[in-house]
């Protein structure tokens, strides 16, 4: 059990490093792709809430080590995101179809971005005079670029996991 836990911890840590050192420094439009969120959604959908919590905490921990925002900020962001994702998955996107997961990825991305920008806004508010991100065109542009990438990744992941496991449902909703 501890070995598996360590494996998940290392995997999640590596993923957070990969996101921070490879994806984020890429050219602006590709840098908005949030691979960790897509993976988190799939971990939640495939392996359940327990594993998703471990991944969320580890990802947050990795982010907190590599970033200079107040320690714990990313752990809280990821934790809240995964709790909301679990709520949505359990109550709204229950069938684990492609469309459910795409929709879930969209909402998860929005929740995470909202938490992240709200947090940084609050943290930076006293030191800098910055406009609220929700009324900035750049935020929405960046958000939708990210959503597009995340959806593409979710699409690819869905078909990959659908091929290797039977925990996901076919494309169309079953009545």
């Amino acid at each position: 059990m501890y070995l598996r836990l360590a494996f998940h911890f290392l995997l999640a840590l590596f993923l957070s490093i990969f996101q921070l050192t490879f994806i984020q420094p890429l050219f602006s439009w590709a840098g908005h792709f949030n691979l960790v969120l897509v993976v988190l959604v799939f971990v939640l959908a495939l392996s359940g809430f327990d594993k998703a919590l471990i991944w969320a905490l580890t990802l947050g921990f990795g982010y907190d080590i590599y970033n200079f925002l107040p320690f714990g900020f990313f752990m809280i962001c990821f934790l809240v995101t995964v709790i909301i994702a679990e709520f949505l998955l359990r109550n709204f996107f229950t069938d684990k179809s492609l469309y459910s997961l795409l929709a879930l990825t969209f909402f998860v991305a929005f929740v995470f971005e909202f938490l992240f920008y709200s947090g940084t806004y609050v943290v930076s508010w006293y030191s800098r005079d910055i406009a609220l991100f929700l009324i900035q065109k750049e935020f929405w542009l960046m958000f939708f670029q990210g959503v597009l990438w995340n959806s593409v990744a979710a699409f690819v992941f869905f078909y990959f996991f659908n091929f290797v496991s039977n925990r996901l449902n076919a494309v169309f909703l079953k009545h």
């Binding site: 840590l13 050192t21 420094p25 809430f49 919590l53 590599y66 714990g72 934790l79």
Partner: protein
């Protein structure tokens, strides 16, 4: 089920709080340091690779931008070349019109400016320029037989057939062309200049007693109706004055390159 989930969430929250507290209590520092130091080499390599991908992409985008820019510049050069050619034509036309105005003002001739709209195609090379058509006709006051001059006031032909909106210009070198002229020599020799094969002109029936030599200028004599006197027609280049002939014959060369005519002026009475 929900209770278990809440319990898990609570545990996660407690873990977060504990980690934060441990961090600020500097207890976590060795762990963080270990993670950072052990992952830094790999992160550096990943970052390097990311930079390489970014650079490659940027270079490609730049190259594409430059090639696009070259294409645009080429297009612009072509457009400017065309514009330049157009402006050069306009400048030449403007120059010609100014010369016309100067000449016509000086001589105080009534005139009608006309554009050459076509040069009739002929299968007979001797009839080159035989059918020049101008864009002014009877409706503009043009009549058959009127003299046509170029921008320097050199006579180039006479009006032939006239239509309401166009007219035929018969060049002085045309076989059909006949123009009363005089040679500017000591005797002021007068005669009729006729076109020859679309290339030159000839003045026949010049008495042997009159002295004509190559280089003498040939001008209109003013003996024809509606044609003023003294307008240059050409230059004598050859004189045939064989002793056994009664008359002399002078070959006259036009001073105008008819191929370059674009605008002409019809002198009206």
């Amino acid at each position: 089920m929900s209770r278990i989930r809440s319990k898990k969430i609570l545990i996660a929250v407690i873990v977060v709080i504990a980690l934060v507290l441990l961090h600020y209590a500097r207890v976590l520092k060795p762990v963080e340091g270990f993670i950072l130091s052990s992952t830094q080499p790999i992160s550096a390599k990943i970052y390097k690779f990311s930079s390489f991908v970014k650079d490659t992409y940027s270079h490609q985008v730049q190259a594409q931008d430059q090639s696009q820019k070259i294409k645009e510049l080429k297009k612009e050069v072509n457009s400017l070349t065309a514009q330049n050619a157009e402006l050069r034509n306009l400048r030449e036309e403007n120059q010609k019109l100014r010369e016309y105005l100067d000449f016509l003002k000086e001589k105080k001739y009534e005139h009608i400016l006309a554009n050459i709209v076509s040069q009739g195609v002929s299968i007979d090379p001797q009839e080159k320029n035989a059918h020049i058509v101008i864009d002014k006709g009877g409706n503009h006051g043009i009549e058959s037989g009127l003299l046509v001059v170029n921008e320097q006031g050199v006579a180039i032909g006479k009006i032939g057939r006239v239509k309401p909106e166009s007219a035929e210009l018969i060049l002085v070198t045309n076989n059909e062309a006949k123009l009363a002229c005089s040679i500017q020599n000591s005797d002021k020799t007068s005669g009729v200049v006729e076109g020859r094969l679309g290339l030159t002109m000839e003045m026949n029936l010049i008495p042997q007693s009159e002295k004509v030599s190559p280089g003498n200028m040939v001008v209109t004599s003013g003996l024809e109706k509606d044609i003023p006197r003294g307008l240059v027609v050409g230059k004598v280049i050859e004189v045939d004055n064989s002793k056994n002939e009664v008359w002399q014959q002078a070959t006259v060369e036009p001073l105008v390159d008819f191929d370059n005519l674009t605008v002409v002026s019809v002198l009206v009475p």
